[in-house]
């Protein structure tokens, strides 16, 4: 099984990885075109807009005239991305000159958008129906609670108070790469730790990615899933939409999404509704924006004590990964960062940098204003403890001694140095140590010297 790498990969990378046929089908949907366009680098967006009403292919050369010499690398990146997503289609004519044309479906969909504006396929709940909708704060709280409940079940199902409706096999898929089964029971792997330290958006990406890559086994077309998820991200947060407007497949997806906290389901008197939460709208937003970052809760003192203002079990579990949790009050978790707790974390593959960036990103607003938000002596000590572990470096090597003459010894030293393999030399006793990888060359060299 390939190693599951934890990276906050963009949704669009996944779209770009789809085969051309599927991608062409996706562009039937106006929302996908819109989401794809918005995901592009600024320069690429502009090119796409500029090409919207140009019917003839534009040669590469004339396109290069649009940019200043300074911006050429940006231009390359933009063009590459456009081709990767098949927004631009490459065309080579008889004179071997390459030119670009906008994807026809993409083009017509965006032209429509420019005239009519963005129109959702379904209307929000009309205001004459008197149902109490959750406020935005309630919705945010709901999304957060649902998500934490899911995460807790993911990392330790025994701790979870209530279980989500995901089937155990589905849960296994999510856990793949994050947990490893050992005799003592499931244990978090290195990437599992990294996963927990990521921010909510990145975590959601990871889960959604797994969900999509697994969709084929469940008889779902990944393209359908992607298009529905993107469409969902264009719905207004906090508005209720009728579930009857969804297709059969989408209805089954939306139940899973409700478990993740992406939507909230609400049962009306006759019909049921779904309400997208903040997590849904963040799906197509670029990850880099810090506007979606949640409020921090951790205060670290110079005496290595750590206070986290939270009652969440999940936070407690995360903090337990690298600190000793001492006691837990109704809204406060108190812990200490110790050498032992950190060694435990390092052994599990968490790096000092990850811990420090977690502490900095989740700093309580009061301390976040200060610079540095985490005391310097603490961050330095965390790094020192990590380097302590790496004090001894193992290099497979070979020792040569009993050289016949000074001349041979010096020639051997010279040879080893040239090949970048000399580790240690002692001219008095005529002994050298070289790296294991050049041992064979060294032997060849010495054999020649003897003759």
């Amino acid at each position: 099984m390939p190693q599951v790498k934890i990276i906050a990969k963009n949704f669009m990378d996944m779209v770009a990885a789809l085969p051309a046929m599927k991608l062409d089908k996706l562009y039937d949907n106006t929302f996908i075109c819109e989401a794809v366009l918005r995901s592009l680098p600024p320069l690429a967006k502009k090119y796409a807009l500029q090409m919207l009403y140009i019917d003839v292919p534009v040669p590469v050369k004339s396109m290069e005239e649009w940019v200043l010499p300074d911006g050429f690398s940006k231009h390359r990146v933009a063009i590459d991305r456009l081709i990767q997503l098949r927004v631009f289609i490459e065309n080579t004519d008889r004179k071997r000159e390459t030119s670009y044309l906008l994807h026809p479906k993409f083009k017509s969909n965006l032209q429509k958008y420019l005239v009519y504006g963005g129109v959702l396929p379904r209307e929000p709940m009309p205001s004459n129906i008197t149902v109490r909708l959750p406020t935005l704060e309630e919705l945010d709280a709901y999304a957060l609670e649902q998500w934490e409940c899911f995460l807790l079940q993911l990392i330790s199902s025994s701790h979870a108070e209530r279980l989500t409706n995901f089937s155990p096999s589905m849960m296994k898929v999510f856990q793949r790469g994050l947990l490893s089964q050992r005799e003592k029971g499931p244990r978090l792997t290195e990437s599992g730790f990294q996963f927990l330290l990521m921010d909510t958006n990145a975590q959601l990406w990871y889960i959604i990615r797994e969900y999509i890559s697994n969709s084929e086994d469940r008889g779902l077309d990944p393209a359908d899933l992607i298009s529905f998820l993107l469409e969902l991200s264009f719905h207004a947060t906090g508005e209720a939409y009728n579930i009857n407007t969804l297709t059969e497949i989408q209805r089954s997806i939306i139940k899973d999404l409700a478990d993740l906290g992406v939507v909230k389901l609400q049962q009306g008197r006759k019909e049921s509704w779904f309400i997208p939460t903040k997590l849904a709208t963040n799906l197509s937003v670029s990850l880099s924006d810090s506007s979606s970052r949640k409020q921090g809760l951790v205060v670290v003192e110079t005496n290595f004590r750590m206070y986290a203002y939270s009652s969440s079990k999940l936070h407690c579990e995360i903090l337990r990964l690298f600190s000793r949790v001492e006691y837990q009050l109704p809204n406060l978790i108190v812990g200490a960062i110790t050498k032992e707790s950190l060694y435990n974390a390092f052994e599990n593959g968490i790096t000092a940098e990850q811990i420090i960036s977690f502490l900095q990103q989740n700093a309580h607003p009061r301390v976040a204003e200060k610079i540095p938000s985490v005391p310097e002596n603490v961050t330095d000590q965390i790094r020192l403890w990590e380097t302590d572990l790496n004090r001894v470096e193992m290099i497979p090597s070979h020792l040569y001694d009993e050289f016949p003459s000074k001349g041979v010894f010096e020639a051997a030293c010279e040879f080893a140095r040239e090949n970048g393999g000399l580790l240690w030399e002692d001219p008095k006793k005529m002994r050298i140590v070289v790296k294991g990888e050049i041992h064979m060359q060294m032997r060849e060299f010495l054999r020649h010297q003897k003759q």
Binding site: E34, L37, R38, P42, L43, K45, K46, L49, Q50, L52, Y53, E65, W66, V67, L68, D70, G71, K74, H75, L110, Y113, L114, V115, Y116, G117, G118, V119, L120, E123, P124, A236, E239, S284, V285, S286, S288, D289, S290, S291
Partner: protein, 303 residues
Amino acid sequence: MASITSKLYSDDVSLLVVLLDTNPFLWSGENTTTNSLSFPKFLTHVFSFLNSILLLNQLNQVVVIATGLNSCDYIYDSSSSPTTVESLENGRMPALCSKLLQNLEEFLARDQELNKDESPPGIASSLLSGSLSLALCYIQKVFRSGPLHPQPRILCLQGSSDGPEQYVAIMNAIFSAQRSMVPIDACVIGAQHSAFLQQASYITGGVYLKPPQLDGLFQYLSTVFSTDLQSRSFLQLPKPVGVDFRASCFCHKKTIDMGYICSVCLSIFCKHHKKCSTCGSVFGQAHSSATTTSDRKRKTTES
């Protein structure tokens, strides 16, 4: 300045304030030349352009200000109107268009009311200074609110000729835009170049363009004026060919090549005066009269 820049989004999020020239004399047809376009056609180009700006980034914001003959007002703000609510109420008219058109109609009616009092001689210029100030006020409000704000810029879609009587007010607006680092783009859709807008875009680092083919206005708008500020440093954009730096005199509001300048307050006059009308300094022969400063001040306030 540092506090302002640190609050910007990292990406290409922009706030575009569009100033629409709604001067009835420009669009009435008396003034039209062969390549000019009608007002409805002009609006369709602008609507598509506004939609494309909103399409580029979900955080982008568009504000439209109408520049009338006697007044100017906000007629559309994308941040205050939810786009989905009334989208299908009136047939297939999108929310943006219907809302903007409705406000525009009301504005034009009000503007016409004001016009009845005093009919201007000949073809009057529209109140560009007023709408520039409105745009800058709006941008200042955005700067002061919220943790993050988009990068603002102003686009003037100007058709009518410059009104020399607005010279001081417009120059003040331009320098205020320069101070708050807001570029003023200018797209001239009239017959003549606009010296005011040439100076405005030159001073604030915006783009000045007078499209030769007005039928393809949207292409000009999307190619040149949709570029966000970040991308501008990588792209070839129209460069100013020549900027008309001529000033207007303060006394008769005429555009002049040469004139007299007050050595104290730098006010400009086309003729020799005995006294500066702005600061009250007395010009003339080396031996000036013996009036004290306080006396002079009182005189100017009385006059």
